[in-house]
């Protein structure tokens, strides 16, 4: 810590911040309007929501401020208690920290401890009606973290594990933020600064408010009317179910693999079973997910073989139907207010925590090094959101192709065969395995994945195996 202080001392604050700043017409326009947009010593920042987006924003804002020698006061408003055993701290999430985020966080000095990771994932198994294939990570290393965002499933009587959101919150408190266990009901304005009113009637006026409440809260609608131009993302319903198997069964049935399914079930885009401590988490994404679709999935012979109903006594410990984004927000910022994480922009279907990290850090960097006016956010924060949005458009196309493969049996067989052959040969470039890994785990951008599928070697091999699979109808 003293090292950082000395670094901060040796760099004159203004020079250090100026090195990140690029004067643009938009910024000059904001300044000409008289918006004093820099966060200076003693500035107050409110973060509404203490999930990953809120925690990442608070953590990086305070860290960057320390490097720049600026003292900030950060209040994080979060009514949920992530340390108590009960569903009130649940964050309705599949709970996968992608390979690229695990690596980025470790580089940032945030190593996720084994007490928080329910199971390290070193492989995935792709299940189809024509067979399955296991694909390992390089070096067979545990590269993906399966976590409980809150204190675990509904029937958990004691907390034997650490909540991921609680772990991030601790980092934020250690950095100097104050955690306020209150629900924010209203964001208003007082002398050009945002003012927060909590459910218990407390008021606070801030230089900047970062909203990180996700999309599964009614509060978002009321914030919408208070922030001009903001429109929340469009969403769709998903299914997350926790099934108690016991630690031994989880290890013997699911192992340290994420299980993904390519099944021809109408409306189902993606399905995964993730091992986590004593539980298996079932995640279903698609259109209008409902009870009938969940049952059709669990009753499918492929799923029953992977997760036999007797292993979880035929019922879930708890389940929920959270909303996830299918579009980004419109104008997720105004003067002194910025929307981050799911209520701003997130990746389509995958790596929501990774997108929270990206948007939170982009917003924190903008606020500290450039300013907190709408023009500042438009110039420096919006490109990060737009980048995610543009990539999601390619994601829609990628999932449409995956849907076609899912529907056509000989293509499912070809895909499986291509991946199996790659796994059997050491030294061969694993094009299909890498595409599937990145698609299912969210470890790479949809653009990268799509570009890899356009490689002539990939197309030629897939076409050849597809023709062979079409001719050899009985072979798997």
């Amino acid at each position: 810590m003293s090292r950082l202080r000395s670094l901060a001392r040796t760099m004159k604050t203004a020079d250090f911040r100026a090195s990140f700043s690029r004067e643009t017409p938009a910024v000059r326009q904001a300044e000409s309007k008289g918006v004093d947009s820099r966060l200076e010593d003693g500035a107050r920042v409110a973060v509404v929501g203490g999930g990953p987006a809120g925690s990442f924003f608070s953590y990086f804002l305070l860290e960057l401020a320390e490097r720049a020698g600026v003292r900030l006061r950060v209040d994080v408003y979060e009514p949920r208690d992530f340390s108590a055993a009960a569903p009130q701290g649940c964050n309705m999430c599949g709970g996968i920290v992608s390979e690229s985020l695990v690596q980025a966080l470790a580089t940032e000095g945030i190593g996720i401890p084994p007490t928080v990771v329910q199971r390290g994932i070193d492989s995935y198994v792709l299940h189809t009606d024509v067979g399955n294939v296991r694909i390992d990570t390089p070096l067979r290393e545990m590269r993906i973290a399966a976590v409980f965002r809150g204190p675990g499933p509904r029937d958990a009587r004691e907390v034997r594990w650490g909540s991921f959101d609680g772990f991030l919150q601790k980092h934020v408190r250690d950095r100097g933020a104050e955690l306020i266990h209150s629900r924010v009901d209203e964001i208003g304005w007082e002398s050009g600064r945002p003012r927060i009113r909590t459910r218990d009637g407390k008021l606070g006026t801030y230089d900047l408010v970062a909203v990180a409440v996700g999309v599964n809260t009614g509060a978002l609608k009321s914030f919408q009317s208070m922030v001009a131009g903001y429109r929340p993302p469009r969403t769709t319903r998903t299914f997350i179910g926790e099934y108690y198997l016991g630690d031994r069964n989880v290890a013997s049935i699911l192992g340290s693999s994420m299980h993904v399914f390519l099944l021809s079930i109408p409306r189902l885009e993606f399905a995964a079973i993730i091992p986590k401590g004593d539980y298996a988490t079932v995640c279903l994404l698609g259109r209008d997910i409902d009870d009938a679709l969940v049952q059709a999935f669990l009753d499918s012979p492929v799923v029953r073989e992977c997760l036999p109903p007797e292993s979880y006594a035929g019922r879930s410990s708890c389940h929920c139907w959270p909303s996830i984004n299918v579009s980004g927000a419109v104008r997720p910022f105004s003067d002194r207010v910025v929307f981050i994480g799911d209520c701003g922009f997130t990746r389509l279907y995958k790596d929501g925590i990774g997108a929270a990290y990206r948007t939170a850090k982009a917003a924190a960097t903008t606020a500290l090094f450039h300013g907190v006016s709408a023009a500042d956010f438009e110039t420096y924060y919006w490109p990060a959101c737009k980048g995610i949005g543009d990539d999601n458009r390619i994601g829609v196309l990628t999932f449409a192709v995956a849907r076609q493969v899912q529907r056509i049996r000989f293509m499912r067989r070809a895909l499986l065969r291509m991946a199996s052959v790659e796994q059997g040969k050491s030294g061969e470039r694993r094009r299909m395995s890498q595409v599937l890994w990145d698609l299912f785990t969210g470890s790479a951008s949809y653009r990268d994945i799509f570009l890899r599928t356009l490689h002539p070697a990939f197309i030629a091999r897939f076409l050849w195996i597809s023709i062979v699979s079409m001719l050899k109808k009985d072979g798997a």
Binding site: A106, T107, E108, I112, M142, T365
Partner: protein, 124 residues
């Protein structure tokens, strides 16, 4: 290895990075210790010991030279691999991600400067 432990466990004496090889990854120690050694004229010189949270092979992120030293596990050590390509892309998007790597390199240059000064003084 615990079910929730990320990375890969190396046993005592196992080599993580070998001097002279070309590297395309850096590593972050999750748990345990490693020793950094260099070979000169058939002799092995132990340079330093590194522990939890420290980077290994971070030079490979910025240059494609051969590894300058060998890194070996001291007891069981758990290491997370960070792919060069993946981290370079992230640094491109967000240069502040490189702060901690730069801090580590800066600290190591400082230590080396002190050691060089000490050696010169001894040689006079």
């Amino acid at each position: 290895m615990q079910a929730g432990a990320l990375g890969k466990t190396y046993k005592n004496g196992e080599i993580i990075v070998r001097q002279g090889e070309t590297g395309d990854s850096m590593y972050i120690i999750q748990d345990g210790q490693v020793e950094v050694v260099v070979e000169r004229d058939g002799r092995e010189l132990r340079l330093r010991t590194l522990g939890k949270g420290e980077f290994i092979g971070e030079m490979a992120v910025f240059e494609r030279e051969m590894r300058s030293a060998t890194v070996r596990a001291v007891g069981d050590v758990r290491i997370l691999t960070v792919d060069r390509r993946s981290i370079m892309r992230k640094i491109q998007e967000d240069p502040s991600l490189a702060f901690r790597i730069m801090e580590t390199m800066s600290r190591r240059i400082r230590t080396l400067t002190e050691e060089v000064a000490l050696l010169k003084k001894e040689g006079e």
